[in-house]
Subunit: 433 residues, 2 copies
């Protein structure tokens, strides 16, 4: 028995490439953790020990070592896999098996990753939750809709998992579970093979325990140059951005952001306040119009052929969406476009923005996965964001802070994120009870 489940993806890949660790050992360590904790955490819809060990043995037999050799990865269950069911958090897809792997799965497999299993998702990545609990407190939500991916990574069952974000479904659960979440610029990671929720918003995100791990995974997916890591003392200009939802943030979130800004300034970062133009607050309304209009179309088959199997919350959203006139939808898209066009001005004189990731700690109870407004503005703006688990709230639950870059400045924001994480340190010790 090893403790390879505690390793980062970078460590696993380095060790397996060097022949110092077998993929079987890694898989077994993760399975041991899974067996110990899954009855409480309930992060997985599908995790088949035989299939996991078969993959591990096959990888150990491979001559070539990909950049993710032997790295176990969790796949949100709205992402297609050729060898496991994809059930989408909906009884409509109970037992459903696709022919193909999604693009992101195929690319990771080719790089040597081990597809550990499918993680719990809210119904079609919307809001009706599964049974996953927060690894830090089983009476609290892990957030959603990428609930199982966040919980599995936070609980050391796998080092990396895929989430998807249409509103806040990567960054909110990452914050609630105390891990690193990376939502790339819209479009950079192909969503081929992912059940669409709202196509102009859907973004695949990467969830891990370190910035280096999301960077390594993103590099495989997008053929990008490596991030140039920054050393302490590199001049970085941070825009402290309280956003238009600041007033509804919990005290713990406000304190976390102010503390982060203060400590970064003390460490030599340049920090200045950046206010979003007032019309950015329209993003709260546009998100609902765009989401509901697009979802009504993306789920047309489920709506017309299986309506009785949709949850009440999904049904309500669909009823709203099918009634939205196209002109209203287009007008909402154009209002977002006005905000996107103003990003140059927002970022003038700063490299990244620093903003709250979520309203506060993970709420008590499993029924409500949390408020998406702190994340969904950046989803609409299509900017890359990284959340870092740097703080804790009054109940000892994780609180994240979010760094936001200009569109396509993904490598810049990842580089700064690592430096910021190193400077601020991890918040509550991530050690599941």
């Amino acid at each position: 028995m090893t403790t390879a489940n505690l390793m980062s993806a970078c460590e696993v890949a380095a060790q397996t490439a060097a022949g110092r660790l077998s993929c079987e050992d890694v898989a077994r360590a993760c399975l041991d953790r899974f067996n110990a904790r899954e009855p409480v955490v309930k992060a997985w819809v599908t995790a088949d020990p035989d299939l996991i060990m078969a993959q591990a043995r096959a990888l150990d037999g491979r001559k070539q070592r990909g950049p993710l050799h032997g790295v176990p990865v969790g796949i949100k269950d709205i992402i297609l896999t050729s060898d496991m069911p994809t059930q989408m958090g909906s009884p409509i897809y109970r037992g459903y098996r696709s022919k193909a792997d999604a693009s992101c799965v195929a690319l990771l497999r080719a790089a040597g990753a081990l597809i550990f299993g499918k993680t719990v998702t809210c119904e079609f990545a919307h809001v009706a939750p599964g049974e996953t609990t927060n690894p830090h407190d089983k009476s609290r939500t892990p957030g959603g809709s990428s609930s199982g991916s966040a919980a599995a990574v936070a609980d050391f069952m796998v080092p990396v998992a895929f989430g998807t974000q249409t509103a806040g479904s990567v960054q909110r659960p990452s914050s609630f579970c105390g891990i690193v979440g990376y939502k790339p610029t819209f479009g950079l990671i192909s969503t081929e093979g992912v059940k669409p929720a709202a196509e102009s918003l859907d973004t695949i995100g990467l969830m891990a325990r370190t910035v280096e791990d999301v960077e390594l995974t993103a590099r495989v997916l997008t053929n990008s140059a490596p991030v140039q890591w920054l050393s302490q003392g590199t001049p970085v200009r941070i825009g402290l951005c309280r956003t238009y939802v600041w007033d509804s943030a919990d005290d713990a979130t406000r304190q976390a952001l102010d503390d982060a800004a203060r400590r970064l300034a003390k460490a030599g970062f340049s920090v200045k306040e950046v206010a979003l133009p007032p019309f950015f607050s329209e993003l709260a309304e546009t998100r609902e119009i765009i989401n509901d209009f697009e979802r009504a179309r993306c789920s047309a088959y489920e709506w017309f052929a299986h309506r009785e199997q949709l949850s009440e919350r999904f049904t309500k959203m669909m009823s709203n969406g099918v009634a939205i006139p196209r002109d209203r939808y287009v007008e909402a898209l154009q209002r977002v476009e006005v905000c996107r066009d103003a990003l140059g001005e927002v970022f003038s004189g700063v490299d990244v923005l620093l903003a709250p990731t979520a309203k506060g700690e993970a709420p008590a109870g499993l029924d409500y996965t949390g408020d998406h407004r702190f994340q969904s503005l950046w989803t609409q703006l299509r900017t890359p964001t990284v959340t870092l688990p740097t703080h804790a709230g009054p109940n000892g639950m994780p609180i994240g802070v979010q760094l936001i870059g200009k569109p396509y400045a993904d490598n810049q924001v990842l580089g700064i994120a690592r430096l910021v994480f190193e400077t601020l340190g991890r918040g509550p010790v991530v050690k599941a009870a």
Copy 2:
């Protein structure tokens, strides 16, 4: 035996709604045409008479009449259907059956349309063609990749069909086969359930024999207000736009465009020349970078799991795409964005642009589906375009002209397109031999 196969979708819907025509009669007329012509045209991969008649009878038994009641529709075979295989023009998907209908199919079914079958597509909507012939000359290509959809509509087997356009796959075959093609603004019609080719470019298009038919179908798909049709004499400002590929257009295409401009001016339209800014010519290069990079990801599963079943042309494109660095891709996206930002200036003082649809007549032979550069610039610019079959070339083959609107001005361009079509008239009589 009726001649309902000659009717437009609007006529069919009006007649069936009024109870003057049964869906069975419509289906039988289309099947008769199919039986007579399919051995030569080869437009269909799947068209099952039993399933077609069963749908027709079910529709005849329905109390409610949707806006497309009884209208037979052809579905390009990269678009998922729950009751027919989706084979994508590739042996990898031979006999493949999806669980669900694509969004566009589900929405049409709910509106009362009859899903007639699946039309031939090039391999994954790329360039390796199927066996479809041009209904006007079986020795010539129908164009691609929406080959079967264009041929089936042109040949009066169905009044409407879905195509998809990533470069020129709707408008080029529409021009070659002498029908009306409508490529909406990017994103307006949900591509959920369509096999992605290149996600930032993929656009579902509608192919029909009248502008009214594409309008009716688009209204069902997008919940849009009806187009306000224009009467003769309405002041319309047309920008004659020769584009940066004018020099490579055939004489017949240049003559068609000049003739169209001359006759429209004579009929009272305001016509002035509009030149694209010189940097728009970069769209020829950016298209290849963006397409190949995105395709390499969208087809990752096929590439890694079934490479030996891909065509030589697809393999070559994929080899190129997997090697493109992300920075080069992002730079191409940003160059396109610069062009999009300049569209306001391009359209200043005009309502629509008038441009060539294709290089010329359908080329001889079935192996090459034609040059996409005349269409793909508008795909990248995300503008709505309508091609109209207004002219003929030296071999009596159709030549289309293209009207282009500003992004989201779909209803405006459709309204003007009908008026232009009425003014110029149909080119060669569309009467398949």
